[in-house]
Symmetry: C2
Subunit: 183 residues, 2 copies
DNA sequence: ATTCGTAACGCAAATTATTTGCATTAAGGG
DNA sequence: CCCTTAATGCAAATAATTTGCGTTACGAAT
């Protein structure tokens, strides 16, 4: 009686894939506020009730999709120097997130009410990237930096301005943040 | 044919007030994800269609309510010194926003898709507060500070950690941010 | 004050989304 | 290969959202 675990293979996985793909496709085609669960279900070739049972709400589903999209496929670029690595990472982060799609993903991730869900997983990617850059710095014998502090000084302001839309997050602005962080 | 403007007085205002009050009351009582438009309508004594026509969606309504709640009723406290004013403001901001209700408000404000809506209005309050503190500093002959930079160094990290839930936003942490900003 | 034009509302019907009960399918272990 | 049961499909039931239309009541002008 060890009971069954969550099933991962076969049909279940196929459906998750189909639903995610349908969601991504719709996010590209039509406005996010016009997307509905039945719409995604039809495109994915499943019944709406399946989606409701597995994801609960449209918000949760879109958050799940967003986290998946925000997961980096590759580690941070190795430019040979810590400052170069940091600049490459921060500029790419800002560019990805400030696009209309990126902004929508960010909002979807945060909309998920439960704090122990998608949000932490999502910003964990940022910690991991910076950890790796810091580890490289140490391996090179360069001066190390504090990862949480680096997030406070660069990533946090970038997210703030993207989410509140109170200013443009340009490359120049990102470099200013990096200079402040280095001081 | 200059025609009618948006109506503000009388019935229209009463309904807006009733709906806002009903929303606030429900936000205190039950989980945000369980709140529905018909629920608010009943509590406010209006028909659901009125809410749908005026606010469009539940998200937009809650964002509207959130902005209203986040609007400060009073200016920043005058402690006699700039560092004191800043500390008072930042600590109060963090405390307000990190509560379950504050966090929900923050999420609601951001969930509203259109960037030119509630979000800007909401963070404008922060700019205004800091502007006033900076003006006081100048009036006292103290060294001025750059308001956008202060936001980047204090408010932005606070919002980031509240929204992503990756760390606790304690008073000690806020003071650390203020010390960094002063350096 | 009274009248007039119309924005905002209430009501109810139509549409659409969400939930739920039950039968069926297919993982995954024995 | 069989057995248990998680996950799905289907369809009915419920709830939310939209919409048409008649009514109310701002607000402007007379």
């Amino acid at each position: 009686m060890s009971r069954e675990m969550v099933r991962q293979g076969g049909r279940s996985a196929r459906i998750q894939k189909a639903v995610h793909e349908a969601s991504r496709a719709l996010l590209e085609e039509i406005d996010r506020s016009k997307i509905t669960v039945p719409m995604i279900a039809e495109r994915a070739g499943v019944t709406p009730s399946t989606i409701y049972r597995r994801w609960g709400t449209l918000t949760d589903l879109l958050a799940d999709v967003a986290v998946e999209r925000l997961r980096p496929v590759t580690g941070p670029e190795d430019t040979g120097s810590t400052s170069g690595d940091l600049e490459a990472f921060v500029l790419q982060y800002a560019e990805e997130m400030s696009s209309p799609v990126g902004r929508a993903l960010l909002r979807d991730v945060m909309a998920e009410a439960q704090s122990d869900g998608a949000t932490i997983r999502c910003c964990q990617y940022t910690y991991d990237h910076l950890d790796e850059i810091a580890a490289r710095a140490a391996a090179r014998g360069e001066a190390p930096f504090d990862v949480p502090e680096m997030i406070d000084r660069t990533v946090a302001p970038i997210c703030y301005h993207i989410l509140f839309g109170d200013r443009d997050v340009s490359s120049d602005y990102c470099r200013t943040l990096l200079q402040r962080a280095a001081a």
